[in-house]
């Protein structure tokens, strides 16, 4: 990255190339580049290094904004219920294992719900992970109603006085109306046991995804109200810059990042580290 020397048109072109290639998208990139042109004038910046420092500060501030949901009230709910959703193959099941593991390290009791009753060996996959993470699992037969599994999992967690319920759902494209209805039904059914549940609706997003992530965020949040994003596969070469565009447009914060395929490969989202990595 062109970080030294005078600020000329080449620097802005390099900046645009970097942001676009980080999957920030045309709209967000143009907004940021325009903002930087203004800052060069208003702050009288003379060196490209200064420009990048200003931009990094701007991005960190953007990504650090707290979300609009009543976060603290929701955290104290017991059991705390997290509904995990997302399109096919992004890492939902593996991420749930990591979340369960994280809660277990805090000494919490965790129930995972095998509400993906559709995909081949989905229940078996979660069973193995639950065992490794030390979580209880509630499951029905393959083909069962996902809402019934979710309901039973919450009921069991209440009866066993567990701290966390994490619900695994089948991957689905956000454009499939009937599958989105299935998610809404899960949410409604949880509300019967606890009107405040689910306390979190976590959308799992693959860092290699491009602009389609905006459509995913839009439709999942319209259907259910997404409270946070978990950005997976950041151990690859993709930058995941689309979360900046998602934050701009929908105000949805990134809560965690996935950096590998093992139980401890989950980290809380750190805006400064994330922004630094964008420019590496």
């Amino acid at each position: 990255v062109l970080r030294k020397g005078a600020i000329d048109e080449d620097v802005f072109e390099e900046l645009e190339a970097t942001l676009i290639q980080a999957d920030m998208g045309v709209k967000t990139t143009h907004q940021l580049v325009e903002k930087m042109r203004e800052r060069v004038k208003s702050d009288r910046l003379t060196d490209a290094e200064q420009l990048y420092t200003v931009l990094e500060e701007e991005l960190v501030a953007l990504m650090s904004q707290p979300s609009t949901d009543a976060h603290s009230a929701v955290q104290s709910a017991s059991p705390h219920v997290a509904l995990v959703i997302g399109v096919n193959g992004v890492g939902k099941t593996t991420t749930i294992a990591k979340l369960a593991h994280m809660h277990r390290l805090d000494g919490k009791k965790v129930v995972v719900a095998a509400a993906d009753t559709f995909r081949a060996a989905a229940i078996e996959q979660l069973e193995i992970w639950a065992q490794r993470a030390g979580a209880d699992i509630v499951k029905h037969k393959s083909g069962a109603d996902p809402a019934a599994v979710a309901y039973d999992a919450l009921a069991a967690a209440i009866a066993r006085k567990c701290d966390q319920v994490i619900i695994d759902t089948a991957g689905r494209l956000h454009t499939k109306t009937n599958l989105m209805e299935e998610l809404k039904k899960i949410k409604r059914v949880l509300g019967k046991l606890d009107p405040s549940a689910p306390h979190e609706v976590l959308m799992v997003l693959d860092a290699t995804t491009g602009q389609n992530a905006l459509s995913q965020a839009r439709l999942f949040t319209e259907a259910l109200g997404v409270t946070g994003i978990i950005l997976t596969k950041l151990d690859g070469t993709a930058k995941g810059g689309i979360v900046v565009a998602i934050h701009q447009e929908f105000g949805i914060p990134v809560k965690f990042i996935g950096v590998g395929e093992s139980l401890d490969d989950l980290k809380p989202f750190a805006p400064t580290e994330f922004v630094k990595a964008l420019f590496e």
Partner: protein, 292 residues
Amino acid sequence: SLSEKLQKTLRNLRGLGKLSEKNMKDGLRDVRMALLEADVNYKVVKDFIGHVQDKALGREVLESITPGQQLVKVVYDELVRMMGKEAEPLRLSSEPPTVIMLIGLQGSGKTTTAAKLARSLRTRGHQPLLVAADVYRPAAVQQLIVLSEQLGIPAYSDENSNDPVGICRDSVQHARRSNRDVLILDTAGRLHINDELIEELRRIREILHPHEVLLVADAMTGQDAVNVAEQFHSRVGITGVILTKLDGDARGGAALSIKSVTGQPIKFAGIGEKLDAFEVFHPDRVASRILG
């Protein structure tokens, strides 16, 4: 859509002589934005616009259609040409078993696609054998076995082995003994930058000499598609691509990025979760999608 945008941008050019660098400049900027929004890689877009400009330059601005329509036609034709005008068939060996190896990033759809491919081959009179070579992902072998049972197509696995290379090697003997003429190897998802796992693929390739090594890639992949495709191709060597999840609303610009950086044909498209949601890749359909 790009057509509508270009109609506006170039409306003053109608019947105004030839398309020149100057009068096309704004139109080309619209095309560039549309391609970037469609997830075509930044550098690929740069090259592509260069090609379009060369093709369009000097053309008479016809009276019969608008300059916008004319430019869209050049872009569309160039997209289709670059993504491989006609479908390229699967390479089958004259000495069975044909070996087809599926590789790619985690979650791209390899296991599901392996089953779809097996089903499609059986429809065309072949006797495929699915090989469960993913020993890492929990219940991955089980996933392939369940799919194979749904189809009534045999699957080879070895629950006592944690060596994917050995499993693949042994599957060849098994195919011969049971008269299966096509082997479909389902491998574990891996990062293009994981040296150890890339080396594992190279070893499988060395021992089995697959007739096809197909990169299974997600249609919603963004700018990173070039890095992934470039690495898998230079380090393992691919002979073709299968683009999955085209049943969503991703514009699919990754198709152009992958084709342009590897030069290998996109052979098939995954268009759903069911095992019959599989078809030959149509570059013209993806070209229209990319243009929006």
